[in-house]
């Protein structure tokens, strides 16, 4: 699954948390397409998605806008989104510069850390 030649979205692992990796560059030309591709990947019963941006070589305000929209759309379904971006990386810097604090960012794709952070809802739909 890809967003043109500039970027690609790849499903890494399917489980209670969906792990997805994004590579390439995200800008105005492909952000909308990528957003659709990511939403299509998300099944009803997953508690959330871990979107790994470590391999992304370029991110700007269009990409951040996309991430925020994803957070909103997933929240509608009671699902959470966590972004993986190593500290000190270019993408991490951009996230910080742009002040996208509503987006949950973690340093590494570590299971325990993410599971703790995502805190899937206990008790299902009646909570």
């Amino acid at each position: 699954m890809s967003g043109g030649d500039a970027a690609a979205v790849e499903l890494v692992e399917r489980g209670p948390l969906l792990r997805v990796r994004m590579t390439g560059e995200v800008d105005l030309s492909n952000a909308a397409e990528l957003e659709t591709a990511i939403v299509e990947l998300m099944p009803n019963e997953a508690a959330g998605m871990v979107l790994d941006l470590s391999a992304l070589s370029y991110l700007d305000s269009s990409g951040i806008r996309m991430l925020l929209t994803l957070v909103g759309r997933f929240a509608w379904r009671g699902q959470q989104l966590a972004i993986v971006s190593p500290p000190g990386s270019r993408v991490r810097n951009v996230l910080q510069l742009a002040g996208a604090s509503e987006v949950l960012v973690v340093d590494t794709a570590d299971d325990a850390a993410i599971a703790r952070l995502l805190r899937p809802d206990r008790g299902g739909p009646t909570s």
Binding site: E25, D27, L28, S62, G124, P125
Partner: protein, 807 residues
């Protein structure tokens, strides 16, 4: 201990989930049993089904033990025996289990934002609840709790209750998480939702006291809520209204007072179903429309520019075609046999000497033809029509124009056959009165050749190009010289120059084909040797070794400052060194011309260049003189160039032509010059306002900055700011003719000045988004100025490139 914990981690969530689900199921069930109609056993609205379905979809079907257990415990006090309770529980568990499995299979999405999801939940819900209704009713009959004849209504109530549990309760549960959005709750939409819910509740309450079937009057209100607020309004409204109606039905009040049970059930379920359908389908439809509209708006931006571009291209192509027709004295006509209408091109009118606004029929045209030739023309047409044949033999005939002059014309025609008969005829007419003039053919070849050469050279941030093409003097034959400059996708540039052996129209057409082939192979990403080899193979196989072409193919990389050269029998490339190195021909391997029967591999030579180096490619028309040896001709070129090393490419080409090519040259001359901009120079780039170009802009700017020695960290920041500013400009550019963005960079005194300019009119940015882009630009550059003039917007940015010692 560890292994115990590990297996608890796997099983734990399932057990916990099941327990919680079971509890929820039980509690909801107990509350719902208050709404029971038949022997305390059957209820018209069974929310636990909806809870179970949602839980299975969202948390997984492995939570089924919770439902089974809860159903069992629920049924115990109201069924004849534990066995009966167990059996009923099986039905209660199986129905939502199957429903969720089927929904997963068809790709159901819990947001219910597509019509297909709405349809899926209705159909699957309705069908799978037959399972629980059947098992449950059978158990009731088997245990004697109800009589056999009561089984049909009992089944109906059961099924309807479970189905409503799915249709009314499940959507509400699905949309619950969305209410956590605080912005929504406290905002205008939240207030509107609450208001609408209160309104519909009041109306419902009113309707339920009237005692008449005004129930359905509440449907339009539910419809409006669904339309205005989509799922977040539709689901709660539907739930509220259905609960109130069900309560009234159970208590036999209002519209349900004194109504027989079956009628009551029918009315109630009809009502509940109407509410469910209205709310969902409206909500899903509106959501789909909103999404489609947003997508449409996004793609419509930029549509105007593309249309304008295409129109301009078409217009230019048409103009060239008209010009070619005129030069060749070639007229074009079309005759629709069904309507009798004849259409003539402008040149036809001129050839026949008829005023351009006169209406033409076949008869009028034939009138002008010499009487001796008319019969032949009529015969041809008749033959084509009768035999429905597409072939019409060419005819040479004379016409006598109204002004008294006579001309000899050569007419070619074709019949367009459709459905077994001739519907249209079309053809050309050429004035061959002067057919023996070579000049005519020469002009045709010339026009063709010009049309096949590049119309404009590409703009490249790091290289300046110039070119000249001078056709041979009239009276001699035009050769097949061509040149091309190709912007390769990786930021390098291919310079091509070549000479097709032969002359006239044939050579020109071969030239066009070769030019396209080189372009195609080059853009595909092949290296120079491969490109040349592929074109050679193509020519060889197509013309069977009979067509020879010489070519020079050079790929220039402005970052590595390297030129990779492959020479197929062509004069060598000239390299001008900016710093007093003069002009030097690139000595390297020269292979055989393309297209010959032999297949020897082509070698690549590398030229090391410097910033400011100029490359000159030329065809032999520049150096071949009748009385001069080839070696001497080359030397003349070299010294002429060496004297003019500092000229820019355009002036250089002009100067070389002037000094080397006499006015009566017998051969074509083509010349291409390319100069690598010095590392410290300016950067200029112009792009159409198309988001797909952003990546190439980032690449170009990166290469320029890297070649100029700017430090890595600064490059990333500057490129980000530039891309943001361009994306900004692209989103502004709105309206025909305003679709270009200009980028200018200058590096001086340890700082970079970057300007992004567009000609668009300001378009309101999406709320919140532009702020982020501007914030990024501000964070990456030291200074930012944005100026909006009447003609567009200019963003000027500045950044120091060598970090000063910070205090």
């Amino acid at each position: 201990m560890d292994r115990g914990r590990a297996s608890w981690n796997r099983v734990g969530p399932v057990v916990l989930g099941s327990v919680v689900l079971g509890v929820a199921y039980y509690v909801a069930g107990r509350l719902s049993l208050q709404l029971s109609l038949i022997e305390d056993n059957v209820t018209p609205l069974w929310p636990p089904t909806g809870i179970a379905l949602v839980a299975f979809l969202v948390r997984g079907r492995r939570l089924w033990p919770g439902v089974a257990l809860a159903a069992f415990v629920l049924n115990l006090p109201i069924t004849a025996s534990p066995l009966a309770a167990a059996t009923t529980a099986v039905g209660n568990t199986l129905a939502p289990y199957v429903a969720s499995a089927v929904l997963d299979r068809v790709g159901f999405r819990r947001e219910l934002d597509r019509l297909r999801d709405a349809v899926a939940i209705v159909v699957v819900g309705a069908l799978s609840m037959t399972i629980s209704a059947t098992i449950g009713t059978a158990t009731l009959v088997a245990t004697g709790t109800i009589a056999g004849r009561a089984s049909a209504p009992a089944w109906a109530v059961w099924w309807a209750g479970d189905a409503m549990g799915v249709l009314i309760v499940a959507p509400f549960l699905f949309c619950l998480p969305s209410f956590r959005d605080r912005a929504f709750l406290l905002g205008r939409r939240g207030v509107e939702t609450v208001g609408m819910l209160v309104l519909v509740g009041l109306v419902m309450a009113g309707v339920l006291t009237t005692g008449t079937s005004m129930l359905f009057a509440v449907l339009p209100i539910v419809g409006v809520i669904s339309w205005r607020l989509q799922q977040r309004g539709a689901a709660p409204a539907a739930l509220l209204v259905s609960l109130m109606a069900t309560r009234a039905a159970v208590a036999r009040t209002g519209p349900f007072a004194g109504v027989p049970l079956l009628d009551e059930m029918l009315t109630l379920q009809a009502f509940n179903a109407s509410v469910a359908f209205t709310s969902f389908f409206f909500a899903a439809s509106v959501t789909e429309r909103l999404r489609a509209r947003a997508a449409l708006e996004a793609s419509a931006a930029g549509l105007e520019e593309r249309v304008a571009e295409r129109t301009a291209e078409l217009r230019a192509a048409n103009a060239r075609l008209a010009e070619a027709q005129e030069l060749a004295r070639l007229g074009f006509w079309e005759w629709d046999l069904e309507t009798g209408r004849v259409t003539w091109s402008a040149e036809m009118y001129r050839i026949y000497g008829v005023p351009p606004d006169e209406e033409i029929t076949f008869e009028r045209a034939v009138e002008l033809v010499d009487p001796d030739d008319r019969q032949q023309i009529r015969d041809n047409v008749r033959h084509a029509v009768e035999h429905a044949s597409a072939e019409v033999p060419p005819v040479e005939y004379r016409v006598h124009r109204d002004d008294g002059s006579t001309a000899t014309l050569l007419g070619r025609a074709r019949a367009v056959v459709s459905g077994g008969s001739v519907a249209r005829m079309l053809g050309t007419v050429q004035d061959v009165t002067e057919r023996h003039e070579l000049a005519r053919e020469h002009r045709i070849a010339d026009t063709l050749q010009r049309a096949l050469l590049p119309q404009a050279l590409p703009e490249h941030g790091a290289i300046t190009f110039a070119s000249r093409y001078v056709p041979a003097e009239e009276g001699s034959s035009a050769g097949g010289d061509w040149y091309d400059v190709i912007d390769l996708p990786d930021g390098t540039v291919a310079l091509v120059i070549g000479d097709v052996a032969g002359h006239g129209v044939e050579a020109a057409s071969v030239m066009g084909q070769v030019r396209m082939a080189v372009r195609a192979y080059g853009l595909e990403g092949h290296g120079p040797r491969t490109v040349v080899g592929l074109v050679h193979d193509l020519l060889r196989s197509f013309y069977e070794g009979e067509q020879m072409v010489t070519m020079l193919y050079v790929v220039v990389d402005p970052v590595t400052l390297e030129a990779r050269v492959v020479n197929a029998g062509h004069p060598p490339m000239l390299v001008l060194d900016p710093d007093g190195g003069g002009a030097v021909f690139l000595e390297g391997q020269t292979g055989l011309p393309l297209g010959l029967a032999w297949d020897l591999p082509y070698e690549e030579s590398i030229a090391r260049l410097r910033s400011g180096s100029t490359l000159v490619l030329f065809t032999d028309g520049l150096i071949d003189r009748r009385d001069v040896e080839v070696g001497e001709g080359l030397e003349r070129l070299r010294s002429a160039a060496a004297e003019r090393v500092d000229l820019d490419p355009d002036a250089l080409c002009g100067a070389l032509l002037e000094s080397l090519v006499p006015a009566d040259a017998s051969d074509d001359v083509a010349i291409v010059a390319a100069r690598l901009l010095a590392a410290r120079d300016r950067f200029e780039l112009r792009i159409p306002a198309d988001p797909a170009r952003l990546r190439a802009v980032r690449r170009s700017v990166t290469r320029w900055l890297a070649a100029s020695g700017v430090e890595h960290e600064a490059i990333a920041d500057i490129v980000l700011a530039c891309s943001e500013a361009c994306a900004n400009a692209i989103e502004h550019a709105y309206g025909p003719g305003e679709g270009t963005v200009e980028i200018e960079g200058a590096l001086h005194d340890g700082q970079i000045d970057l300007t992004v300019r567009d000609g668009g009119s300001w378009r309101e940015p999406r709320v919140g988004d532009r702020g982020r882009g501007l914030r990024l630009i501000g964070a990456c550059m030291d200074e930012v100025h944005i100026e909006q003039t009447g003609n567009g917007t200019e963003v000027r940015m500045r950044r120091a490139t060598h970090p000063a010692a910070v205090g």
